[in-house]
Amino acid sequence: MFTLGSVLDNELKSSVEDFSFETEFSTNQLMLPNIEKPFEFAQSIISLEKDLDENDNQPMFHQQKKEERKERALIKGSKGTTTLAFIYEKGTVVAVDSRATSGQYIASQSVQKVVPVNQYMLGTLAGGAADCQFFLGHLGRICNLYELRNNEKISVAAASKLLNNILYSYRNYGLSVGSMICGYDTRGPQLYYIDSDGSRLKNSLFSVGSGSPFAYGVLDAGYRWDLSKEDAIDLGRRAICAATFKDSYSGGTVKVYHIDENGWVKISDDDASELWYRYEEKEKKNK
């Protein structure tokens, strides 16, 4: 398989020796396996969940290839997790679960799904853990270099665009990344959704992962721009809690972070199952 690690070395080396903007952020330096038609090889052995659905827009020869791919797939990517983030008047709230599954087996209940990019930006992890961790870590390196070179903090828009361009250049190689770049910069609280397909969307709230429909339900019902800080944090926590309750691929602990002009802070880390019953008791007491 191609090694992305050696790509990083190439990029870093060239960025130290050569200060031109192009080499620093050049993305098409992927190492490919030494065979005929490496691109097709990559496509043939990796299948993502979305590829398994019918796609009417593709011509017949693409559809046939997909059938072959389904049978030969050795690596399956799926986004079994729940992460959410939203911006409001006073900052950005990020909430995630911490379960990692491989097939029907829970591999871990204590995965770190939030990766700090720098002191005022967080990236969330959904999809392939290795892909997300690598690229978000790489984004952190690039942002640090940007700050050193330009003597100013990188904006969330620019950071998300850098990641987007990198992921777009690898778009058919079977990566699975569903990440949100959340931060606070001179424009206020910002939130971008970045995908391994190459999409980049800006909005005030997102939820990514298999539990996202459940999280959206609670989130959409309670979201307002002028929430207080406690209410916003509580909303994020409740939404993840609801998703972990309904979705079997989400669980573990519920971690909530808050980002404002002073940077990011971890607010809480609660066991998901306990949290649900704690809320239930609170409701009973209120009645």
């Binding site: 827009n57 011509p59 190459g198 980049r200 969307l201």
Partner: protein, 208 residues
């Protein structure tokens, strides 16, 4: 799942696109602008994959700007359509862009608007009216029936709303909100962001 509609009127081109951006069954963003301005008098309406659309439209916009900077002259809509088609055609057998486009523009030299239909396979056709996505199924016949040469702006807007009403009514995937833009000699202007509610006996609410 994207719906794009456009047609040419008397000295203007009117285009509309839905404002949904989604992933499988979920709507991620409901104020997504699919009508991207290439320069002051041209719009590229994109549909298909979000990432491909963004990157491809950026490619076209930057290259058109580069041409303008190098040659101190603006490209005509026809030239931009040809250039765009060529980019799509060279990519299709290597690294295809899954975007279907409607390119609308107003040329000051001819004092006329023009509309081009561009496909991800590299097809390109100059049209008077057309649509991309599922909307094309419903809207095609309406435009065949009601479109006339040299429609006034008010009549054109009414026809566009008729088309969008039909899309909202018949398309099972909920697309109530559309953004309508118009290009004329003064440039690109956002006409309306329309929210259509066909339950209210074909009444249309206008949003800011």
């Amino acid at each position: 799942m994207d719906s794009l509609v456009g047609f040419v009127g008397k000295n203007y081109v009117i285009m509309a696109g839905d404002t949904n951006a989604g992933r499988s069954i979920m709507r991620l963003k409901d104020d997504f602008d699919k009508l991207v301005p290439i320069d002051s008098h041209k719009i590229l309406a994109k549909s298909g994959e979000i990432g491909d659309g963004n990157q491809f439209c950026n490619l076209i916009i930057r290259n058109v700007s580069l041409y303008r900077i190098r040659n101190e002259t603006e490209l005509t809509t026809k030239s931009v359509a040809h250039y765009t088609r060529r980019q799509l055609a060279t990519a299709i057998r290597k690294n295809p862009y899954s975007v279907n486009l409607l390119l609308g523009g107003y040329d000051k030299k001819d004092q006329k608007g023009s509309l081009y239909y561009l496909d991800y396979l590299g097809s390109s056709k100059k049209i008077n009216y057309g649509a991309q996505g599922y909307a094309a199924l419903f809207v095609g016949s309406i435009l065949d029936r009601f479109w006339k040469e040299d429609l006034d702006f008010e009549d054109g807007l009414e026809l566009m709303k008729k088309c969008l009403r039909e899309v909202e009514k018949r398309l099972i995937i909920g697309t109530r909100c559309f953004l309508i833009k118009m290009i004329n000699s003064d440039g690109i202007s956002v006409v309306e962001k329309v929210m259509i509610n066909s339950e209210k006996k074909n009444e249309i609410e206008e949003e800011n």
